[in-house]
Subunit: 190 residues, 2 copies
Amino acid sequence: MASTDPMSPRERLLDAAARLSYRDGVSVGIEALCREAGVSKRSMYQLFESKDAMLAASLERRIPGYEARLAHPDPESATPRERILHVFHRLEQGSVDADYHGCPYLAVLVELKNPEHPATRVARGVKERLTEAFRAEAERGGARDPQLLARQLLLVFDGASARAGAGVERLDDGLATATVTALLDAAGMD
Amino acid sequence: MASTDPMSPRERLLDAAARLSYRDGVSVGIEALCREAGVSKRSMYQLFESKDAMLAASLERRIPGYEARLAHPDPESATPRERILHVFHRLEQGSVDADYHGCPYLAVLVELKNPEHPATRVARGVKERLTEAFRAEAERGGARDPQLLARQLLLVFDGASARAGAGVERLDDGLATATVTALLDAAGMD
């Protein structure tokens, strides 16, 4: 990074942590992160308590953008069904990017295997918020069991993102939205 | 390991690689693997070309047991629908184990993010075989689009295993089988 870079060392580290852990996995080394950010290890440890804390902060920082991408562009005029389907449509759209490796929050959960890790807590929060958003839409749409439907939708969301991210499935023919449509219909959703 | 252990160094390494990579992730170090197996690094490199090759061999070795666990105990008397549901019932049963971290093959795919890794190739083969088994059952059961249904079932299988493995979902109330039942019904399966 050039010295004219307007980002602070903290921001550069958070960007590098998000980018490299997404591309290479959470086991990416501190040396690689500091090199990518153009920040010394000494400075890194002045800014963050640990690599774990830095990873958690980098995931936390991405939440608003992540959730904005999944939100319907015109929520007032859309039905609950349309707002749910939009989330999966965005997942399908994003999955065709060459550098797509699935939902970053699911990847962290699968990779860390540690419920106490600070990054796990961030990722779990994102998943809980999405589940609750689906549950609320399911309730508005008259689903028989909104909580069950929301949990079913998360199975599809995370399964689709994991499989497309790993390159063993393609979603651009509408696989996720077709699956979700069947589940919304089965749940009696408007 | 005691020297009276009847397993060969090769078997001990494969066991250690399967156990530790499942528990801690594929980034587990060679030192830790050799220590767990009670085998020197030098011996390890005489037996395997690389850690990657050892990991791939350890995953390959587990396939028969993995697939046997998912197979219906009485396939002749079961219907295609029952044979499909049995797979998800076993997933639900397995997910309550204290040391459950999800499907080991999905975990490897998510963690490695590398289609050329030898372990990725093994994992992809397992997923392709399960998809084909579902497709064949869907065809026997009269599903409208057996290939689409099979792909939908894999989304649920991998989503359920990832979420339960990461501890953000519980399957023991029948979540996976309920989801699959809705999809089988929607596909017009007997």
